[in-house]
Symmetry: C2
Subunit: 495 residues, 2 copies
């Protein structure tokens, strides 16, 4: 892929000046339309050979365009807050909202290459990350992100020449120049790694544009024109992305067996009040101890609660939190997204609440909304909820990879029990338990939810982040099962 960017592309200063004015005007107008429509975020990744002019390109783009709607992020040393969270957290954090342009310098690419070269990643692991990257980028694109990836290239001679020029202009210190020379020496080793990376991550959704960096006029004009063409296409697409792309997710899952999983739960399981009191104290104490140990500071805990209305999520959560130090955990209720949250991919609002090491986040309803309520109510297309299984698995893997312990609970009650609880709630004095017409309406879709739950568990119960189906007909039984599961998961992770 790189040869065509080593042939010495160049544009004269005069030709550049002729074209620059028109390009700038067109870019500004396209940027304005993008900002007005607020339909898509644009994410440009600029990376490539060191010394190729990556940051000069970014500076030129912000100079051409309206700096108020564009943001450049350099991902240098991780801050302490970034180090305490999963690898990709800082990219989620910097993601541009709809209508804006974000430029990510190097993004997730440079780190991968360095790790490979230093031997911290072997060939297989490197391939795995390339695959991960592909899946991650596909998700961004599916979520409406317009993704542009630029590799600013220099041939080996081109790099030598640039370094010689830098040495002449005297702006680099001796130490920097020494580093530069070392980099030039690494070129031969790096090149095949780059080749593999570019090949493996050049997809139809997010292809690489390789741009020769030697001549700044050529480089800047090329990047600018590709951006302009893309913006024009995006802006012409008046309707929101169709999201109807043919998907290869295979036929819809065979439903019968899956649902049996839910229906066969033994909801008659019970625990007496006396046993409950004893067990509660016992498991809460264990949980309190585990989350206060020094070892826990290398981990984090993510609890995901799902279940039918009135299944007892709130009660189970309170039995967990009362064992925790209030300074250590956060409970996040998931309701309709705010307008800020709506301007990002759907996983964004969960990423923003991912706990740091030593922290705990409890989600009351979760990212599974996509494959539950959004599927059942038709809030997203079939393609969207189909792809969500894989995206969610990736999300949870990223949590676990950084020391997270992920427990997911589905609280199951019978339809008859739900009816009893609704009726009982209508008489309660706790306002938060008031039953709304919406609750009754949801109840009407019991069967559709059963199928959605069955598919969800089937496709997202992974070894790293398994589902726990909780027989919740008896509240005591459910609460103890939840607490015990959390304790055992922590025990296993911290062993």
């Amino acid at each position: 892929m790189l040869e065509s960017a080593e042939i010495g592309h160049a544009i004269s200063k005069a030709a550049f000046t002729r074209q620059e004015g028109r390009l700038r005007e067109a870019l500004l107008n396209a940027q304005f339309d993008l900002a007005q429509a607020k339909a898509h975020p644009v994410l440009m990744i600029i990376t490539g050979v060191e010394g190729g002019g990556r940051s000069e390109t970014a500076n030129k783009l912000t100079e051409w365009m309206d700096p108020r709607h564009i943001r450049v992020t350099a991902f240098g040393e991780r801050s302490c807050e970034e180090l305490a969270r999963p690898y990709v957290w800082r990219y989620w954090r910097a993601l541009p909202p709809r209508g804006r342009i974000g430029i990510f310098m190097n993004a997730w690419y440079t780190e991968m290459v360095s790790a490979r070269l230093a031997g911290r990643l072997d060939g297989t692991r490197f391939e795995f990350y390339l695959q991960e990257t592909r899946a991650y980028e596909r998700m961004l694109v599916d979520e409406g992100v317009v993704l542009l990836k630029f590799w600013i290239h220099l041939s080996k001679d081109g790099l030598r020449e640039r370094l010689a020029n830098l040495a002449k202009d005297g702006r680099h210190t001796k130490r920097e120049l020494k580093q530069d020379r070392q980099r030039a020496d690494a070129y031969v080793k790096l090149r095949p790694v780059w080749e593999e990376m570019l090949r493996e991550t050049s997809t139809s959704e997010a292809p690489w544009t390789v741009v020769e960096g030697t001549d700044e006029h050529y480089r800047n004009l090329t990047v600018g024109k590709v951006l302009l063409d893309t913006l024009k296409t995006v802006n012409a697409d008046v309707a929101p992305t169709p999201r109807t792309r043919a998907h290869s997710a295979g036929p819809a899952p065979t439903v019968v067996d899956n649902v049996a999983l839910i229906r066969k739960l033994d909801l008659s399981q019970k625990i007496s009040r006396t046993d409950y009191d004893g067990e509660l104290v016992k498991w809460q104490r264990r949980l309190a101890e585990l989350t206060r140990t020094k070892r826990f500071r290398d981990h984090s805990l993510v609890l995901a609660f799902e279940g039918a209305d009135a299944a007892g999520k709130g009660g189970a959560i309170r039995r967990v939190t009362s064992a925790l130090d209030a300074r250590q955990y956060v409970t996040v209720p998931i309701a309709a997204p705010t307008d800020e949250e709506k301007s990002y991919p759907y996983l964004w609002r969960f990423w923003r609440n991912v706990p740091p090491r030593g922290g705990i986040t409890i989600f009351d309803r979760t990212w599974y909304g996509r494959v539950l309520v959004e599927r059942v109510e038709g809030f997203c297309s079939e393609y969207d909820w189909h792809r969500a299984y894989e995206e969610i698995n990736q999300f949870e893997e990223q949590l676990v990879e950084s020391g997270g312990v992920v427990c997911k609970f589905w609280l199951q009650i019978s339809k008859a029990e739900q009816y009893r609880r609704f009726k009982a709630r209508e008489k309660t004095s706790f306002k938060r338990f008031k039953i709304t017409p919406e609750d009754w309406r949801n109840r009407g879709k019991w069967g559709a939810y059963e199928h959605a739950v069955a598919d969800m568990v089937d496709r997202t119960s992974t070894e790293l982040a398994p589902w726990t189906l909780v027989e919740a007909e008896d509240k005591y039984f459910a609460r103890i099962k939840v607490l015990k599961t959390v304790v055992k998961a922590l025990d296993a992770a911290m062993a």
Copy 2:
């Protein structure tokens, strides 16, 4: 203030149990109403004598209430991201939105006391911070925050007793017990500092509730009841806070002299194209150098741009940004707040964009919207924009105190020049320059804005963060003046 919390308040276990159920139910209902109304955030500060049971109190409250709408924040060691920003940044960051309850452990109080005791703050400086705190809390309350401050107290004997009990139950290490003893020894020295602090920060808006911590039942019930009473009052107040409190800001400013300040600007000042080109290169180069020096990493730069429509803010900003490294700065356009931003005090959305040391934020329109457009259009009450002057001065002082360089620009053109620019823009091909009916409407309020600007400059041009009035009739002149001002401010700060 402390004596009444040293007399040995206690409640029997039986009495506690009798009252707890009712209190919990009432708290839950009140919390539900608060969340539904989304009119006010509740901020509880819990601090006091170490060992008095502060975190136990917080835990009890979250146990009683719905943990999904309450969040406890402990402010321990500052993270690297917090260290790189002003002192109060982390409090802004943790502020609860409307409808929710935030519990701040110790908040800004413990640090102040420690610094005073260690001699890092002398008496005068301590008094200054207490005053600052008062102003800060008043602002929060004026912005609709319901502020509750609890001092959990122990007498000296009470503290001794608690420490003895802790030593017995074996949960503390030897080192911790040694620390505990040291703390007990410091009691005598600390007490007068606490007394002063409580006295000076107990205001009608945000009074302290001093609670004896010796008996946990008494302590928890007392805090719970005060919270409940407050929630009930807040929830009963169906209409949003009236914000009509009589203010002591004195009579409205005498207008004539102030406006002269604006009208007397010599708008005929010009610079030729040739001189402009030379000056531009010169000052941009200086700016590029200064922001790339090592010394700049101890500072940050905040640029605030205000001016009439078409005064040339965008052009001036671009001349600044093109001298900067795109990875170093962020430009923040201020338009209507998002619904998330609306659920916080008005300064919140500026705080979230405050640059870290070594960073630059450029605001295109600013927090001065409060005393400009909001005043002129009547979007806020007279009381609100009156108090804003003082609040803004405090905000900017906090920026400067942590190494920030703050430059504020008002770009002034004549009404005739604005007309010419509007007309010219109607013919331009740059879409972002399209003139809207709103622009013409704003133009109709020229006089009102003149008064607002004059008052603003008069009241917020401080030594730490002075206004620069920019004669912007000639764009070249304006841009050079802006650049020069920034360079000189940086020079002065970094000298």
